[in-house]
């Protein structure tokens, strides 16, 4: 088995985000780390966050810091990763990628205890940086500029201290004195030695300052003072004339201002009034911004509350520290305060957001504030300050970035009866949980739909002048008339445009001298800027069949197969310059726009009804000479010329290797051909084909991100655009369109106008580069598992949250319920108890509030849980049952019992009562059995059975129910009042995490000990283990592939496939003893037979769900996985040995020629826990187009191919997958 790993949708969780000017001075950008992906984001003027660049680094990005030299206007990025190296990156605007400026090795690779990389801190004045580990090690690097203003890096200076934990590191603002780094440290040496526990209880955190003596090139531990034992984070305060300097230490419940020779200034952090007294308030994210003399510091607590911190100071003396409640947004991993008053919030779970400040809260007198001046000490400690969270007052939401993280369960199924199956993903946590339906394709926003009289045949947009930014007219052609609409505040019909409205239009175009051209069957109508009209009439009885135009050139095809070519002369006249008999009817013609700085486009593409496409020259000395002909096998419906993505914006750099022109041909059989046109000779080469749909693709040009891109309208619309040097052809999630054109107006800066049947539509793309289009349904608690009812096509979701308050006990909701606000619109909840209010997710208002604030916190060991039936097509909850008695639904399965066939398919739900962690304990476990009512729209409890443990996994097995309770496996049959235990196996290693069955085999995924294969012996009514694995794996997901083979994933981000060798499998089946001795003959308590690992691969992210699926009509089956960081990827089995060899070699060369950006060895990364086996990393291979052309060529030569062929192969394999 050989697999290709390909990430379809990169992780959407953000682990770290920094703000700076990375691509150019004064361009405000954010660099985010998404686990193993580094991205550059830029909010546009409208406040929408755009992904500028995204690259996989094949390593764990743990920390980021922006770095800027004094006086410089651009930032570098310093990355702390698992590579044991410090890497400094610079973003190159020209190449649109990150360039590695420096890479210095300091330690082993991996996320280790004493290898730095967890923390990175920089000196605010841009002279040094520090990388630190969670224990002991700290390195300081001096950064400088050489004569050419290039960044230089020194050898590392050590600042180690043994047996010391480090909580946070930051660089203090010292002006131009020696750079100082502050760290929170805790020494554990004595606690390890003292059996009485006295030393441990006295262990004290210290604030330690490390000074880098630039003169001596040496780091000294300058200052170390005890600090509050709850300290976890440091926020530097600007100094050196712009502020008092020093640092704010964030501790549990307190903020403490510290500086050398300065008394401690302490203030309490205001806390939510509904928070239990045992819980502290921990600051988990901070951001600060300095503008002139104002210092803005914002902190966020673990509950999501934002605080603004202000300091009253005189010189270097801080008199007062004030903490003011600002607003509440979801808890973040990183906050970035940006210029222009933007706040970028990278949420821990769920969608990220960009906010705008509507005020800084200065005149907000209602907000609760605590101050060091009013700090009250009582017998029980300091007097707390309380507040209640409120709706957003100082911030406004500008944009949301969809995030799937965390995906807790995922299934691929075609429940909506579409062309390809949908991906159903249970995402999110707590009140921000959602069920999302993903479909491959670009999300499209419908801006306007208006009905038209009759069915239009075509549509164009025309500007008034070349220099205009926005389109002025929409020209709609019908079979016997033309309608001209003017675009303004509203879209209205106009008659003064100069177009002839009584004839159908074939083409409308604005010419280079601001005149307009209308091509209609009987001639050309040239409307000069001064409204004079020149008409050219088609000769004799011939009519114009096809036409193509650009700013200076016009080509028309007459009936009978004559092509006439016109050019705009300097006097502003269209002059017929050549005609030619093509010897057959012309099916389509196309000319590309005039390249910038040129007089004309050199090629005309003509598609003929005889199944050929010809390229004609438009050069003055060889006008309409046939340069190349290609037989395409079917009648071409539409042709188009498109610059290749790497041709540069102007498309002028001739012969620059990849900078070719592409001829796109849509055929009547639904296939799109893409052929390279040589820029010099016009020769055609290297054809690629792609099936788009059942209708012949019609091709239209439209600008996307300012570049000319292609719309291909088949049975569904597709968009071909260039993204990071690659041509992408992706479906759009929209209904079939008949004709389209680019559209640009004040309201819709970049969109399309299209006709579909008798409507005119204006649509815009939502976010380019997102692979999936999402629909979502809000859930109440964290989804744990879901199942699909195959007959009723309904989803059953089990949701459960630890330390949450169940609905029935929620005072805040009860109050609202009594006020009757929700009563009216509340959906039916559990009818047994009329007092239970509706779930907050059911009303838009309360859902939004819950999303912003989070649900109130409960006690540890308290659970809130519900079962929900969802109609996946309408995406609606049809029934929801809240569980009582502190039960948490953790596992689900559908089962039909042989003993009661009349009961049909039942739902079994495994619940744990009062589950607690550290140590793990549970009061009780139950298996609840429900029956479906109303075609699966509702469920009803049949009975519940106590199982004394956590039922972690369940499966239907031979008409009975198999339940994994802790480390026991039990078989239950249906009884009248409860389930009846039939058989039990008690010796599984730790905990049953997954269960799958076929025939009499059971595949058990253990919480720590990988897969076990078991059999059920009917005669003895007993289970026995006949095979297990030789390596420990903490299984999180398993997928049974065939009788002997199982694919699985573990907690550490590995995916594996294990197989029982065929001879052993046969032996087990034919065992004459019936397995009598099989269970007892293993070595050291293990099973007698061992599984073989077929495939090993480190995905780099905990895989939570594995599914088999076909994502393309007629495609091959593959494994789809979803990860905790919200990534979706596939493992695709190679169809042939040849393909595998090719990719294996390509991967090998890519490892050599394109080592990962952060200095992690690719092979070592993919072998993080187990050596990689028989998986080719498609993500690395797909970086091939990012190589410089020379390297591309040399790699291709090694593979005995041309770069074009390698690219084609890469494209092919992706097209085969999706």
């Amino acid at each position: 088995m050989h697999l290709l790993n390909l990430t379809l949708s990169r992780p959407s969780a953000i682990t770290c985000a920094i703000y700076g000017n990375f691509s150019a001075p004064k361009v405000h950008e954010i660099v985010v780390a998404r686990g193993k992906v580094l991205e550059l984001l830029r909010p546009d003027d409208a406040g929408r966050v755009q992904v500028v660049h995204s690259t996989e680094v094949f390593g764990v990005i743990r920390s980021l810091a922006p770095f800027r030299f004094p006086g410089a206007q651009q930032d570098y990025v310093i990355c702390g990763s698992d590579s044991g190296r410090i890497v400094i990156l610079q973003y190159s605007k020209e190449k649109n990628c990150f360039n590695k400026v420096h890479q210095e090795t300091y330690g082993k690779s991996g996320c280790r205890r004493i290898v730095p990389g967890e923390y990175v801190a920089v000196d605010p004045k841009g002279r040094a940086c520090m990388v630190a580990a969670v224990e002991k090690s700290k390195f300081v690097y001096v950064l400088n500029r050489d004569n050419d203003a290039r960044l230089t890096i020194s050898s590392p200076l050590e600042a180690h201290k043994g047996s010391t934990l480090c909580y946070h590191v930051t660089g203090l603002d010292m002006g131009f004195d020696n750079p100082v780094f502050a760290a929170i440290e805790l020494d554990y040496a004595e606690a390890d030695q003292d059996p009485t526990g006295e030393a441990a209880s006295e262990a004290q955190k210290h604030l330690t300052l490390y000074e880098l003596d630039l003169g001596l090139n040496h780091v000294v531990r300058k200052y170390s003072e005890p600090i509050d034992n709850g300290a976890n984070m440091l926020v530097p305060v600007p100094g050196a004339g712009e502020g008092p300097g020093g640092v704010i230490v964030c501790a549990e419940n307190f903020l403490i201002y510290k500086n050398v020779d300065h008394p401690e200034v302490r203030a309490v952090i205001p806390r939510r009034s509904n928070l239990s007294a045992e819980r502290g308030v921990l600051i988990t994210a901070a951001t600060s911004f300095k503008q002139k003399n104002n210092i803005y510091i914002f902190l966020q607590s673990e509950y999501g509350d934002l605080y603004r911190v202000s300091l009253d100071y005189e010189g270097e003396q801080v008199k007062e520290l004030r903490v003011k409640y600002f607003d509440t947004i979801p808890a973040c991993t990183s906050l970035c305060l940006m210029r222009k008053g933007f706040l970028f919030a990278a949420a821990e779970f769920g969608d990220h957001a960009l906010y705008q400040f509507s005020s800084l809260g200065d005149d907000d007198t209602e907000a609760v504030e605590s101050s060091s001046a009013t700090l009250m000490q009582t017998d029980e400690g300091f007097q707390p300050v309380f507040f209640d969270p409120r709706a957003l007052t100082n911030l406004e939401l500008l944009d949301r970035l969809d995030s799937l993280a965390p995906i807790t369960d995922m299934k691929v199924a075609n429940l909506a009866n579409e062309e390809i199956p949908q991906i159903y993903a249970a995402c999110g946590r707590g009140a921000r949980s959602t069920l999302r339906v993903l479909r491959p394709g670009l999300a499209v926003t419908e801006m306007a739909v208006s009905p038209l009289p009759g069915n239009p045949t075509a549509v164009w947009t025309v500007k008034k002048a070349v220099s205009d930014e926005f389109d002025a007219y929409i020209v709609v052609s019908f079979s016997n008339a033309t309608l001209v609409l003017s675009i303004g505040e509203t879209v209205e019909e106009v008659n003064d445009s100069g177009f002839n409205g009584n004839v159908p239009t074939l083409q409308a175009q604005l010419l280079a001298d601001d005149s307009m051209l209308q091509v209609y069957p009987n001639g050309l109508r040239h409307i000069r800027p001064d409204r004079r009209i020149n008409e050219w009439r088609a000769p004799g009885r011939k009519t114009i069949q096809r036409a193509t135009t650009n700013e200076r050139q016009v080509a028309i095809a007459l009936s009978g197969g004559e092509v006439i070519y016109f050019e705009l002369n300097p006097q502003g006249m269209l002059v017929e310059s050549e005609k030619r008999e093509m010897g057959g009817d012309v099916a389509c013609v196309a000319v590309a726009p005039v390249p910038e700085g040129r007089q004309r486009c050199r090629y005309l593409a003509v598609g003929m009804f005889d199944g050929t496409v010809r390229v004609l020259s438009l050069d003055p000395d060889s006008t309409l000479k046939v340069l190349a002909t290609q037989a395409v096998g079917a009648t071409p419906e539409s042709v188009m010329m498109l610059d290749s993505p790497s041709a540069g914006k102007e498309g002028t750099d001739e012969g620059a290797g990849a900078g070719a022109l592409f001829l796109q041909v849509g055929l009547v059989n639904g296939v799109l051909l893409r052929t390279e046109v040589d820029r010099v000779t016009g020769q055609l080469s290297d054809t690629r084909t792609r099936f788009l749909g059942t209708k012949p693709p019609k091709l239209f040009a439209a600008p996307v991100r300012g570049e000319r891109s292609m719309l291909a309208l088949s049975s569904r619309p597709w968009l071909g655009y260039s993204d990071q040097g690659k041509f992408n052809l992706v479906p759009m999630s929209y209904e079939a369109l008949d004709y389209a054109a680019g559209f640009c107006s004040e309201q819709v800066p970049e969109g399309f106008v299209a006709v579909a049947k008798n409507t005119l539509r204006v649509i815009a793309l939502e976010r380019l580069g997102e692979f999936f289009n999402q629909q979502q349904l809000r859930l109440r608690y964290t989804p744990r598992k879901f199942v699909i009812h195959p007959d009723h096509k309904m989803l059953v979701v089990a949701e459960a949250d630890h330390a949450a308050i169940p609905l029935a006990q929620r005072d805040d909701l009860k109050q609202q319920h009594q006020e009757g606000q929700q009563g009216a619109e509340a959906m039916q909840t559990d009818q047994q108890d009329g007092a239970v209010p509706a779930g907050p997710e059911l009303s838009e208002e309360s859902a939004a509030r819950e999303d912003q604030w989070g649900a109130p916190m409960g006690e540890p060991g308290q659970w809130a849980s519900c079962l929900r039936i969802v109609d996946p097509v309408a995406l609606q909850t049809t029934h929801c049952i809240e569980l009582d008695d502190n039960e948490a639904a953790l596992s689900l399965c559908l089962v039909s019992f042989d003993s009661q066939p009349e009961a049909g398919v039942l739902l079994a739900v495994g619940t744990a009562q009062g589950l607690k962690f550290y140590p793990k304990e549970v009061q009780n476990g139950y298996v609840r059995v429900y029956r479906f009512l109303d075609e699966g729209k509702r469920i009803e409890l049949v009975h519940k059975t106590q199982v004394d443990g956590v039922p972690g996994a369940m499966a239907a097995f031979k008409g009975r129910l198999l339940v994994g309770v802790d480390n026991n496996l039990r078989l239950y049959d249906m009884g009248k009042k409860r389930l009846l235990r039939k058989c039990e196996y008690r010796r599984l290693p730790t905990r049953v995490a997954t269960l799958a069955t076929t025939g009499s085999r059971i595949y058990v995924g253990d919480g720590q000990e990988s897969m076990l294969y078991m059999r059920y012996k009917k005669s003895d009514n007993s289970f026995y283990v006949f095979a297990d694995d030789i390596v420990p794996r903490h299984v999180t997901a398993a997928l049974h592939l065939d009788y002997d083979t199982v694919a699985g994933a573990d907690r550490f981000g590995n995916v594996f496939v294990s197989r029982l060798p065929p001879e052993i499998s046969a032996q087990v089946e034919e065992d004459p003893t019936g397995g009598k001795y099989a269970a007892e003959t293993g070595m050291l308590g293990g099973a007698p037979n061992k599984l073989q690992t077929l495939v090993n691969f480190h995905v780099g992210d905990t895989v939570m769900a594995l599914q088999r699926a076909v994502l393309q009509p007629g495609g091959r089956e593959m494994i789809v996985y979803g990860t905790i960081s919200g990534a979706i990827g596939v493992l695709y089995p190679f169809a042939s040995r040849e393909d595998f060899d090719f990719f294996q070699h390509l991967e090998m060369h890519m490892r050599q020629e394109h080592p990962p950006l952060l200095g992690r060895d690719h092979l070592a990364y993919r072998s993080f826990y187990f050596p990689v086996k028989d998986v080719i990393d498609g993500d690395l291979c797909e970086q091939y187009p990012q190589l410089v052309p020379d390297k591309q060529r040399s790699v291709a030569e090694e593979l005995d191919r041309s770069p074009g062929e390698v690219l084609k192969k890469l494209e092919d394999i992706r097209n085969r997958i999706i």
Partner: protein
């Protein structure tokens, strides 16, 4: 004092490793010390891999920041108090 023979001496090498890499074992290591290192290494790994921290955060319904902080706190005494030293 350090001569060439010292440097290649197995004990000197071991000492060097023990000084350089925290957690390197020694012949007299006891169960507690061994456990201590394993647990601290584990916590460091859980903090370093965001996915693992998120995994715990979802189970506990705490914020990732809090979970990481708790892991760091646990590194102080990861397996309880050390055993009484045996009198020799």
């Amino acid at each position: 004092m350090a001569s060439l023979s010292d440097r290649f001496n197995i004990n000197a090498q071991l000492e060097h490793l023990q000084a350089k890499y925290v957690g390197t074992g020694h012949p007299d290591i006891n169960r507690f010390e061994w456990n201590l290192n394993i647990k601290r290494d584990t916590y460091a790994s859980l903090i370093g891999h965001q996915a693992l921290a998120a995994y715990h955060a979802i189970a506990e319904n705490e914020s990732i920041g809090r979970v990481k902080y708790n892991f760091l706190q646990n590194m102080l005494l990861p397996c309880g108090l050390p055993p009484e030293k045996e009198e020799e």
